[in-house]
């Protein structure tokens, strides 16, 4: 097992840090109106080849692994970059690459890679339990084609997406469909999310749809695992900066005539935050390597989510508390990190959900064998 980045990976990290860093100062302005991210930055990411990072070269991709994806995701997390890299490239993009027909791949992936097409998964439904089952959208086959009826919401970046990968009921099964988001029968209402982004309510009324290969719940589950791994890396980046920012604050902020770093009760809590961070880093890197080498494994992803969830709560809560009053203001960054971490953790199942997933069948499992 080797946790170190090679030269190319380090170069990738530096390049991503560079391009994202350029626009970091504009975040408040950029996120204050739709789409909530910067099309120029998006174009820059496309030029760097990042928007096709995990796709085959056949489809204008870079053929990179989850490790490289994780590097990008972590940098996104570090500066809370609002660009939808994970949702579009890792979520919809890799799902298409994994489960789409050749034709769909040839049609969609190069456009995603070039930045001209925004595709996202539309699976969420109001008050639906986390999982791969669709309840509120029904697929109907007629005249050799398919139509969808029902509501998906909240769909992150759903308002600006060009293409939606929609989960829908086909009898007892859940199947995935490709839908032109601008077509007749698709009505979208965009609203703000609590982490400075946008999501949409999407109503399908006889909207034309094409099956994504023969993808169903298994393909969606695999997509979730890829997303969870990337979100985990994003969360890691956000937690890393949360700890750095908090430590920096303790070193400079004065109270009662001395810097906060003179208060042992506070520095010990910073030490605990750092400890949590490093443990979460290990499990994030491990889950990323496992995905890269062995492909999606829901148990690995749940272990990751459980640990990231616990750590995100610890770090985001403590980072605000140690900042005191300014920690709860929008002017300071730390609260935005907390907001992002709070939402991220509930995006694909809560901490408790994933602990329960790991607990399921635990009696019949032996000691976790890490090295083999």
């Amino acid at each position: 097992m080797d946790f170190t980045y090679d030269k190319e990976q380090t170069a990738l990290r530096d390049a991503v840090r560079g391009i994202l860093g350029e626009s970091a100062g504009n975040r408040e302005k950029i996120t204050s109106s739709e789409p909530g991210w910067d099309r120029e930055v998006w174009g820059g990411l496309a030029e760097m080849g990042l928007l096709g990072l995990p796709f085959d070269e056949t489809y204008d991709g870079a053929g990179a692994t989850a490790t490289e994806v994780g590097i990008v995701a972590q940098e996104i997390g570090r500066i809370l970059a609002p660009e939808p890299f994970i949702d579009v490239v890792v979520g919809a993009g890799e799902l298409i690459a994994d489960a789409g027909t050749d034709e769909q791949k040839q049609d969609l992936l190069p456009k995603i890679a070039s930045g001209e097409l925004i595709a996202v998964i539309a699976h969420n439904e109001a008050r639906a339990p986390h999982g791969t089952v669709a309840y509120g959208v029904t697929a109907t086959s007629a005249d050799g084609g398919w139509t969808l009826d029902g509501v998906k919401e909240p769909v992150r970046h759903g308002g600006v997406a060009d293409v939606l990968i929609v989960s829908a009921k086909d009898g007892d099964a859940t199947r995935l469909f490709v839908v032109d988001a601008t077509a007749d029968g698709v009505t979208r209402t965009t609203y703000a999310t609590p982490d400075d982004g946008y999501a949409a309510r999407i109503v399908f009324a006889g909207a034309a749809a094409t099956p994504l290969g023969d993808a169903g719940e298994a393909a969606l589950a695999a997509a979730f695992t890829r997303l969870q791994t990337a979100y985990g890396a994003e969360a890691l980046g956000a937690m890393e900066v949360s700890v750095e920012t908090t430590v920096g604050y303790l070193k400079t902020r004065k109270q009662f005539g001395v810097t906060l770093s003179k208060f042992q009760a506070l520095t010990f809590r910073a030490a605990d935050m750092y400890t949590s961070l490093e443990l979460a880093r290990s499990i994030s890197l491990w889950a990323t390597m496992a995905l890269a080498e062995n492909g999606p494994d829901a148990l690995v992803a749940s272990r990751l989510q459980a640990e990231i969830g616990r750590t995100a709560r610890h770090i985001s809560q403590e980072s605000i508390q140690l900042h005191g009053g300014i920690g709860v203001t929008a002017e300071y960054s730390i609260g935005h990190y907390a907001a992002r971490l709070t939402v991220l953790e509930r995006t694909l199942g809560t901490e408790a959900y994933h602990v329960a997933q790991v607990a399921d069948g635990i009696a019949d499992r032996g000691i976790v064998e890490l090295l083999h």
């Binding site: 109001a126 008050r127 919401e153 809560q317 929008a330 709070t342 901490e351």
Partner: protein
């Protein structure tokens, strides 16, 4: 040792329950129950209903509208009010400046301010915290210099809650910069927010809302008769005020209501017909929070009334410390109950995502403040360790 209420207290409880659930507009109570935000007008309306019924300022001296209640009766009042979804009387008026004026103010000040304060004809805000002072309140730098019949105030306050609604401010100012200790040389001044030289800048919070403000003073001229009590004794009045502020500080009534509402949400069926409350792990969190709230409320009842002579009972630090953590934990549970729906923060009425779910993250983020404002939990631990344990 006695568990049951006396006949008298049981009757008071019934009267209050009747009053709160019938006299205060349902719409206001529903908004509170659902965790929504009240308008300024609703807050004023609710307090005037209470004041008309004689229930706005029970802790004041009887001649100014107080009730002479026992601590337990005050607890019943607060608990019935909060669990009925009735907004408590504005703390700045009822718990803070009112008792200070009633105790230390001149007769003229009492007559001028107390009735209007009880009825929320004046909306007060608190000018205590300053940018570089934080938890170290006594390091304040805002100055007031005497010039004839006026004080000239310069400086800046911050974290001024609802300052944007306020008509008047009660403000700690440094009137003697040469006092040997930082706690000395501070005075307690009252003035209108419309006085020339007062500027309010709202601070946006992480939930996107506005409730605290920076308040700047640029040569604000304040009539000398608006100084409360004696010059340079403002720190004593502030300590008295902070002691009163701790009444109901555990906020057990409103946290109980919040927990109950979250439980109702968790008891609704999801898309697949299952209910989160039937998940033993979720149910255990509700049970544990309910038990802890019970312990906190019992503790509030147990130590009630031990705040004497205007000095806060240090045990009230326990209530603030644990009360803030519990309300935060309830809000965290609400986020988990909302699950993936948390994304719908800005969804409108046509959304299928219920508003409580979309509001859950902003509320959770907003409530991080309760362990920071009003004496952070670190300050409370310092008080417990120092004053109670002698460490």
């Amino acid at each position: 040792m006695r568990l049951a209420l006396s006949a008298e207290d049981a009757q008071l409880q019934q009267e209050l329950r009747e009053f709160f659930t019938t006299k205060v507009p349902q719409e206001i109570r529903d908004t509170v129950r659902s965790g929504g935000e009240l308008t300024k007008e609703q807050i004023i309306e609710a307090q005037r209903v209470l004041n008309a019924g004689g229930y706005a300022v029970p802790n004041w001296p009887v001649e100014w509208g107080g009730k002479g209640w026992t601590p337990q009766q005050r607890h019943i009042w607060l608990d019935e009010m909060q669990t009925a979804g009735v907004p408590a009387p504005l703390a700045f008026n009822a718990s803070m400046v009112g008792p200070v004026i009633a105790t230390f103010g001149s007769q003229e000040q009492k007559e001028r301010f107390l009735p209007a304060t009880a009825n929320l004809d004046i909306w007060w805000c608190q000018g205590f915290s300053e940018p570089d002072a934080g938890s170290d309140l006594a390091s304040l730098r805002t100055t007031a210099v005497r010039d004839g019949d006026e004080w000239v105030v310069n400086g800046q306050k911050t974290w001024t809650t609802l300052g944007q609604y306020a008509d008047w401010i009660f403000c700690l100012v440094r009137t003697n910069p040469d006092a040997p200790k930082k706690q000395q040389g501070i005075s307690f001044l009252l003035f209108e927010m419309t006085t020339p030289g007062v500027t309010v800048r709202p601070i946006k919070l992480i939930d996107g809302g506005y409730e605290v403000n920076e308040v700047f003073f640029d040569n604000v001229r304040v009539p000398a008769d608006q100084l409360v009590g004696e010059e340079n004794r403002g720190w004593d009045y502030a300590k008295f005020l902070l002691g009163n502020e701790r009444d109901g500080i555990g906020a057990t009534g409103s946290t109980k209501l919040r927990l109950q509402v979250v439980k109702e949400h968790a008891s609704l069926p999801l898309a697949d017909g299952s209910r989160l409350i039937d998940d033993p792990a979720i149910a255990a969190r509700f049970a544990s929070l309910e038990n802890q709230l019970l312990a906190l409320e019992l503790t509030a009842l147990r130590v009630a009334g031990s705040s004497k002579d205007g000095k806060p009972d240090p045990v009230s630090s326990i209530l603030k410390l644990r009360g803030s953590v519990l309300i935060q934990e309830v809000s965290e549970l609400a986020v988990d109950v909302a699950g993936g729906d948390v994304l719908a923060g800005g969804a409108g009425d046509d959304s299928d995502v219920p508003s409580w779910a979309g509001d859950s993250v902003p509320t959770y983020l907003n409530l991080r403040k309760v362990s920071i404002f009003g004496g952070s939990n670190e300050i409370q631990r310092t008080i417990i360790a120092g004053t109670i344990l002698g460490l």
